[in-house]
């Protein structure tokens, strides 16, 4: 059969029964996608905004007519949908119009000394190489510049917007209730939100930032609830949850960058003095050892902030997906009912335990991010208690 012959030249077909690859499956579930799976083969189509040398394409993923596993049946203006992610046919002949895709294949190759997985689309019996979207990481994770850029509303963006809308209505209602019932005991939604607010204000902001804490409360509250909401929505296993947003390093980079910008631009002279040219230390030590370390620390602190959140959430998601994959591994992709039952018996208590732990981690990571942001802002704006003259030997404490 023509398909079998071409399977051997451009790799394994995506639609044929294969062994369950737990690693690939896990990575695909924590990665971003252009369509959200609702149940089985039903996908929630999200808007796509794609840019290539041929211009912009705006639409929704409905044009791809995605079916099994999020693989599109049609190509549209050279773009196809593979595992719910948009890819582009390298061959320029398909850059306009719609073509029916027979199948997709993937194969592991070595290019430039690095192992890669490349995808092909089979149109009318011929294999055509597919490009993934451009990633702006300089190729660290195997990405790089390709023939198109993806600015679509993906799963992560949709989840962020959903969190935004939910929290907007929740907080607006709580704030209206607070102004309406001023002086009385809070009840309802306001009663639920107030402990969080007072916790952030009294345990995180006031002790770490000091008397000027009110200026930074909006940012700390926003960061805390944003991260908390995204973590919790990522734990919901079905639509509209399930998108791994805070486990996406781009999101955490931006959050840490905002903390970095706020703490750096609020820093006063006292902070820069003590970071770059600390008084009371011999100049030799300062130039060669202490100042480089301190400068490195200024950049390293937000870096650990982002890595901490990213790694915690991603690791939790991978572990949960691996536990659930036990069912598929032991059931040999649906061929062995006894194995699948054994897998389910093993995996269900493990997954339940892991998800409970993940709830704790969701709160903890949001709290830790907020507290460390408050600490960095606090050290940047703190005033010296009194003038200490380090150059005299008299101690003025």
């Amino acid at each position: 059969m023509a398909e079998a012959a071409h399977t051997s030249t451009c790799g394994h077909s995506l639609s044929e029964e294969q062994e369950f690859n737990a690693g690939d499956n896990a990575v695909r579930h924590i990665a971003d996608a252009n369509a959200m799976q609702i149940l089985g083969d039903v996908y929630f189509n999200l808007p796509i905004i794609l840019q290539s040398a041929d211009g912009w394409k705006v639409g929704t993923t409905a044009v791809f007519q995605a079916h099994h596993h999020g693989n599109g049946e049609l190509s549209s203006d050279g773009y196809v949908l593979v595992h719910a992610a948009v890819m582009r046919i390298q061959d320029a002949r398909f850059a306009q119009g719609e073509f029916k895709i027979d199948d997709y294949t993937h194969q592991d190759v070595q290019e430039n000394g690095k192992d890669k997985t490349i995808y092909h689309a089979i149109i009318e019996g011929q294999c055509y190489r597919l490009d993934p979207k451009t990633t702006y990481d300089g190729g660290i994770l195997g990405g790089g510049t390709t023939s198109f850029s993806d600015f679509s509303i993906t799963r992560n963006v949709f989840t962020m917007l959903l969190t935004l809308v939910i929290f907007f209505f929740v907080f607006r209602r709580a704030a209206n209730a607070a102004t309406r019932t001023r002086g009385q005991a809070p009840k309802g939604l306001q009663n639920f939100i107030e402990p969080f607010y007072t916790f952030i204000r009294d345990e995180v902001a006031k002790p770490n930032i000091g008397p000027k804490y009110e200026k930074y409360m909006p940012y700390l509250l926003s960061a805390f609830f944003f991260i908390l909401g995204l973590n919790l929505i990522g734990q919901i296993p079905f639509f509209p949850g399930g998108a791994n947003v805070t486990g996406n390093i781009s999101i955490t980079i931006v959050l840490a960058l905002i903390t970095f910008i706020i703490s750096t631009f609020s820093a006063n002279r006292h902070f820069w003095e003590h970071t770059l040219w600390m008084p009371g230390v011999p100049a030799v030590l300062k130039i060669f050892i202490l100042t480089p370390i301190e400068v490195l620390g200024v950049f390293l602190k937000p870096f650990t902030l982002l890595l901490r959140l990213f790694a915690n959430i991603t690791a939790g998601h991978i572990v949960i997906i691996s536990f659930i994959s036990l069912i598929f591994i032991l059931g040999k992709t649906g061929t062995s009912v006894g194995g699948a039952a054994a897998g389910a018996a093993a995996s269900i208590p493990l997954t339940l335990f892991m998800m409970t732990l993940e709830l704790l981690v969701a709160f903890l990571q949001a709290f830790i991010f907020t507290m460390l942001s408050a600490t960095y802002i606090g050290t940047a704006i703190e005033e010296p208690l009194h003038h200490i003259d380090h150059d005299t030997t008299e101690d003025q404490h």
Binding site: D24, I140, L141, L307, R308, A311
Partner: protein
């Protein structure tokens, strides 16, 4: 494979560190129960910092072993 070994070693470090933090914190609360709240807050903060260091190593090993 070496990436997995590296990640495992990093987690050993995290486990040792956080175990020590937890142990000392519990001892301190046993000595002075009324300081429990302060000690708990400091314990969580320090545990997160130690875990952050271990997670840096874990993320680097993930980069090394990244598929695709």
């Amino acid at each position: 494979m070496y990436a997995a070994i590296g990640a495992g070693l990093a987690v050993i470090g995290a486990g040792l560190g956080i175990g020590q933090i937890g142990g000392k914190a519990v001892e301190a609360i046993a000595r002075q129960p009324e300081a429990g709240g302060d000690i708990r807050a400091n314990m969580i903060l320090t545990a997160a910092l130690v875990e952050g260091a271990a997670l840096v190593a874990m993320v680097l090993s993930f980069f090394v072993a990244a598929p695709k």
